[in-house]
Symmetry: C3
Subunit: 320 residues, 3 copies
């Protein structure tokens, strides 16, 4: 455990220190922090907890002017609180330096390749013909199926499946005919994929996930999907076949996207939306079917007005 | 297999026996039951099957007055049919008394603890630093990650993941910055967690699931979520970061709850709802955005009225 | 790798060949195809890629009259493009003939049966008392729990769970009472089940999935569900307890179906719908609550008209 002064952390974060410097040895939540801890408070609603904290120092958002007056300790004012959180946690919890290894109970089949310093956890399976890059972490019971490739520094959560068969079937009178799924999955550097998420191989060609993209738990990525760089996809999202998500887009939880739809660069899709048509770059959409957020909010307002109107009309509503 | 008389089962259930006593050796569905079986019928729509059953006796809800006249056998009238079902199934299928064991192919890493009589099934992984209490059942290929703790009598379904990384990322121009997830998961006594469900560790502090809570399959529990006691959460629900579910709440399938939202004690959330704001204790809400059930039903009614109104206006709708 | 002439493939597909015959050795996407490849183009929007393809031949839908004029190569005109895709992929990628085996790291417990030529992949678990038929493929880390049976030619994706406990609980003042789940799962011939999908055993009796049915990834099939033959169920669908899906029905992604609901034969349910009432055979429904597709579309139209109306009323909306 490293011990650091608040002033040093302030320098690390580009933060303004208010109050006396002190030495801290860890980070803890407001209510858990002790006198050798740094803590953080991003939200006015947590002032009661802030006032009672035993921490030596607290990280506060600079824009919450005056919040530090509620703090019974030194304060570090930062411009970007979540970025500060990321940095200070990494400071006190540096990435463990582990030798790469294929742990007991993991299986790397003959004909699969695993890069330097990569960890393949217990129960994980790297099938023949799959390739995993350097410095990756393959979680317990995760699967990388044959023909699929991972770049460097890729993280797969426990139970994640890369290279499941795409859902391609033709219903016919005599029964359902399967479209063989003979493509692959290509995952670029620095991608992180959550627990029990499934990524289907392409029918032909590849399903691709671009550099730096982060995907949460229980997400379904269909066959031939193409995801750009630095995309964020929250839990339980479902992407149908051949969907394209461009760079920097953000999808909230439980979103569904219909096949062949394009979500433009930097677009944001609200949680639980159903997207059936292309979303332009930079747009913010929500609802099912998804519309621009301003229309979605306006719809809610108009609906309330309609309720009032119909209630005034009362029994006459059906014969105006 | 134990053999019991209907009268004895009646005493167990606090039920009234109508018709002749008989000996039964098991429970079976209406259409499967034979002459040594007890069966049950909770629903008027199943009268045709009830009339044809070959069972020796049938459990019926007392409030369905007269339903027993359709029964070709003895009837046990109960106040709480589902509770009676639970008890009679447990009577004929007592919990197997198994010695605890770590089965072949399961891995308990050095530095993990597993309590008395706990069963760790094939392929399950208990990581170093994790702790599992007494009388637990860890399903095949389930994962308990480092630092996470389970109380006593906890059941994890196959493929469940406890302690996956929370989804904490800061999108920046230069790429996505990860917020290290250094907290843990604490699961209290008598919790049951379904197959392939994922529970994220906290960013800081803990994700907690309270005593007696039951969670179905494919549910996502985000980082720092706090779930109270005796909560029921149906399949494919998604709880975002820092959500709080208070004691005794019930969430239907595929519900989504936005981050930091509080679902009050005893509240009920209808299936597929999207909850973006706090739900008061005892409230019943549904829809997306979720509103009180009575408003949700009223909205459907008003919508039908509006349809009629607009149809009457016909072509003049756009120029009233 | 087999080499075939376009004329031979034309005969296989019942297709009309336009242009010169040529020999091809594989299938590739429009943009990936080389001079010894066959490719395909089903969509006018891909004409720019079609014009640039280097393929020796292209499969085109006959109904897209004139599309072949954009092709710089021979064309095969087919009536059913997706069926042609299935056949031509199977032609070039025949099912591998593998000896059945229980792979290293897979577990078939004592008292389980596994049929001829079936492959049980690494990490998969067949519990005691389970039965798997002939020519099945059980994916890595999939689980078939005790008492569950699979027919012949059944495919389970990685991490799929057959026979998890149904979610049956009775909330009571003193805590939650569990309804023991003592039934089983029966899966018929030629069923395919996707990665990380979960199928609950019945409370009593059986959960059944009929011959030829295909289920995508991350689907939840509740206890006592009965699914007919040749049903298609897309990813992340949730079927509550005792749901009945009749032959040939098709469910889009993320659909939810309430308990005891019947989806009639050949019915189609749009993606993300919430189905709370029976759907007649052959019906097409969408939305939440799900209504006939024509009403769903009409609702969207009426809503737009109402928006206009309310906007015209302007500030007077609340006092007409």
């Amino acid at each position: 455990m490293s011990v650091t002064s608040l002033a040093e952390i302030g320098a690390l974060l580009g933060a303004e220190l208010i109050g006396a410097d002190a030495r801290v040895s860890g980070v803890a939540a407001l209510e858990d922090a002790g006198p050798s801890d740094l803590t953080l408070c991003f939200d006015w609603r947590r002032i009661p907890d802030l006032e009672k904290t035993r921490a030596a120092g607290v990280i506060l958002p600079r824009r919450a002017t005056g919040l530090h007056r509620a703090a019974p300790c030194a304060a570090l004012l930062v411009e970007e609180p979540r970025l500060a959180l990321a940095r200070v946690l990494r400071h006190f919890h540096p990435e463990p330096v582990e030798a790469g290894c294929v742990r007991e109970g993991a299986r790397v089949e003959a004909g699969a390749s695993v890069g330097a310093r990569t960890i393949v956890a217990t129960g994980a399976v790297i099938e023949s013909g799959a390739g995993v890059g350097d410095d990756c972490r393959i979680g317990p019971n995760a699967v990388v199926a044959s023909g699929c490739t991972l770049g460097n520094r890729v993280i797969l959560g426990p139970g994640a499946v890369i290279g499941s068969c795409g859902f391609g079937f033709v219903p016919r009178r005599a029964g359902v005919v399967k479209i063989p799924q003979v493509g692959r999955v290509a995952i670029e550097d620095d991608v992180e994929i959550g627990a029990n998420t499934t990524v289907d191989r392409a029918t032909l060609g590849e399903t691709r996930i671009g550099r730096g993209t982060k995907i949460d738990n229980l997400v379904q990525v269909g066959h031939n999907v193409s995801i750009g760089e630095n995309v964020l996809i929250a839990a339980q999202v479902g992407l149908s076949g051949s969907v394209k998500i461009e760079d920097g887009a953000i999808l909230g939880g439980q979103v569904g996207v219909a096949d062949h739809v394009v979500i433009g660069a930097g677009a944001q899709v609200g949680a639980k939306s159903g997207v059936g048509t292309h979303v332009p770059p930079g747009a913010r959409v929500a609802g099912y079917p998804a519309v621009e957020v301003k229309h979605w909010l306006e719809n809610a307002f108009l609906w309330r007005r309609m309720r009032k109107l119909l209630k005034r009309l009362g029994g006459e509503g059906s014969r105006p």
